[in-house]
Amino acid sequence: MTILTLTGNYAVAYAVKLARVKVVSAYPITPQTTIVEKLAEMIERGEMDAKMIRVESEHSALATVYGAASAGARAFTATASHGLLYMHEMVWWVAGARMPLVMAVVSRAIGPPWNIHVDHQDIFDQRDSGWIISMAQENQEAFDLTLQAFRISEDPRVYLPMMVGLEAFILSHTVAPVDVPDQKEVDEWLPPRRQPYVISPETNFVMGNIVPDEDYMMMRLSIQKAMEAAKEVIKEVDRSYGKKFGREYGGLVECKKCEDADYIIIIAGSWSGEAKMAIEDLREEGYRVGVARIRFIRPWPEEEISELASKVKGIIVFDRAVSFGSKGPLFLDVATTVNGRTSLRGVIAGLGGTEVRKEHIIEVTKEFINKVEEEGRVFEPEYWLLPDPYRGKPLEEVAPRWW
């Protein structure tokens, strides 16, 4: 074990090296680029025994690692934003083929207009594709999740690809101490690659040709069942990782002060840190609030959220993305699980890297709590936390900029 000061991106690269990945392929995109730059450096220095395929697009990057994984190699790619959208077809292909592999997604806003800052829209856009999707809060967790991703994805109960989400710049380019285990320790913990099938002359296997519609539907059901099974696998892996390396996060959801809470903040990603600080201040003022940080967007932690919903007076959800014409995507999942059992507010905030500070979270949470205490049951599915000078104004009075 060594403590290194690493950016989130380098933390991911170190985990990929320690996982003994054999084929890496990627196309540069800000803010993902430094992951593959680091991997290329490690490979060329001879520190990492892998092949690097420098492809001409993200669509090809995922197709390349899919080809490598199908032929039996542990494979890795990374992307962000437009790159992720460009490979969207392959995202579905890999999950449909039930091929275990790991991809880091440095979540970033989508253009136009161009914006390279943090936003969860790109990763939520992959929500329905059959990938296991995780979100890190800090660099250490980005490292841990990357290592865990190989074990989760390659578990025979799962056999689904996995995304490790970390946020643009806030994690990807910010340095923090990261506890990096030795190769020997990782080898003891991470088993050799397992996968459902290998395509080679030895197996004479064919993947992906046409099947009857009924078989297709049953294969779709099997993905759903694998997602369900993944919940247990994720928790197991989290526990065993904790035992080996000393860090356990609580499975699909990390709860802070949820036990005695009257209200819960549901949030995912790095700004959960601000939310955790916010509840300390709120508690000093007498508001008993907890934070449930969503570590896994898929599989959705239905049981955990459901349990909270039946205990608390209200839940406030923070979304850094919008399903245009509907609500925030995280809110939609929470509302489905809550099923009217408690008060809800869906906050849309921080789009395109717009700053969200602890004070903002305190303000909007406090307002929600006061409203619930006065009015009883509250249901506010869409609450925009607008930047200055629009902050606090009713949406009808705001004429937003459209160009």
Binding site: S25, E56, S60, A63, S70, N209
Partner: protein, 311 residues
């Protein structure tokens, strides 16, 4: 040299495969397996060959196959080859793509793989239109041909993919035709021995899309070569040479008149009484051979020197 009785006598296109009568792709797949044997893995992007395999989980084609999204074949094959290499296995990875999967939607991944000189064989099975979706125009549809998106005939000539691949400076580029299986098999065997990127463009006349009787696939394929429309050649490590079956057609007087090729296909029916349109196709043939001449002379220093001495 390819000797018929020495070719494997195994059944590679299995009963239950879903190809149309007279299908050039199932012919090509058979020759492919005869040439490469049991060491090859196929990567097949969307197209007729996705369907020809028949209904999963079984397959009508006796090959290990990775089916892949349309635009991804060159990339997926690169990854497979890398994975076999890191495992110390010397399998041959072959992309089997149609004209769309090669020249249009698949072009970016193909160009990338060629530029990286990936150690794979990329075969374009060219039936000159998007046949699987029902005969729509492609970048490889020839001038004048009717398709369901060019009702009055295509207005542009075919993109010259083999030349584009030569311009990628890869070790091996060849053209072939389902009408000349010996030639195709020989080129495949040669390609399998060369390290780096190999491109073979297989001309594949399609009875359904080209509107000719399904018994005439080989005849139409041979006429394409004999009229000079589809020259067979090889470009190997910087040296260009015409293949035996095409050599004599360098002399325009030896070529079968192009009208013989056009008139047995329904897709050119509307052109047959328009001499100015046929002239455009003849000019295209001339231009193709002019390029061939240029390549042949400029890439064969010995030959050029000989010619200079003789003058």
């Amino acid at each position: 040299m390819v000797i018929i009785h020495k070719l494997p006598n195994r059944r590679y296109g299995m009963p239950g495969n879903a190809s149309c009568p007279g299908c050039p792709e199932s012919m090509g797949l058979r020759y492919l397996k005869m040439a490469l044997g049991d060491k090859a893995v196929l990567v097949i992007p969307a197209g007729c060959s996705s369907v020809i395999q028949g209904i999963g989980p079984k397959s009508g084609i006796n090959f290990p196959i990775l089916n892949i999204a349309f635009a991804a074949a060159g990339a997926a094959a690169s990854g497979m080859k890398a994975a076999f290499e890191v495992q110390g296995k010397d399998y041959i990875v072959v992309v089997w793509a149609g004209d769309g999967g090669t020249a249009d939607i698949g072009f970016q991944a193909l160009s990338g793989a060629a530029e990286r000189n990936e150690d794979i064989i990329y075969i374009c099975v060219d039936n000159e239109a998007y046949m699987n979706t029902g005969i729509q125009r492609s970048g490889l549809t020839p001038y004048g041909a009717w398709t369901t998106t060019t009702w009055t005939g295509k207005k542009e000539h075919k993109k010259n993919m083999p030349f584009i691949l030569i311009a990628h400076d890869v070790p091996y580029v060849a053209t072939a035709s389902v009408g000349y299986p010996h030639d195709f098999i020989e080129k495949l065997r040669k390609a399998a021995k060369i390290k780096g990127f190999k491109y073979i463009h297989l001309h594949a006349p399609d009875p359904v899309g080209w509107r000719f009787d399904s018994s005439l696939t080989v005849k139409v394929a041979q006429l394409a070569v004999q009229t000079g429309m589809w020259p067979l050649f090889e470009y190997e490590r910087g040296s260009f040479k015409l293949s035996p079956f095409s050599k004599k057609y360098k002399d325009p007087s030896k070529r079968v008149p192009v009208i013989e090729y056009l008139k047995i296909q329904g897709r050119f029916k509307h052109l047959l009484n328009k001499p100015e349109e046929i002239k455009k196709i003849e000019e295209y043939i001339e231009r193709t051979w002019w390029w061939i001449d240029l390549l042949e002379r400029s890439t064969n220093p010995a030959k050029t020197a000989r010619e200079l001495l003789n003058k």
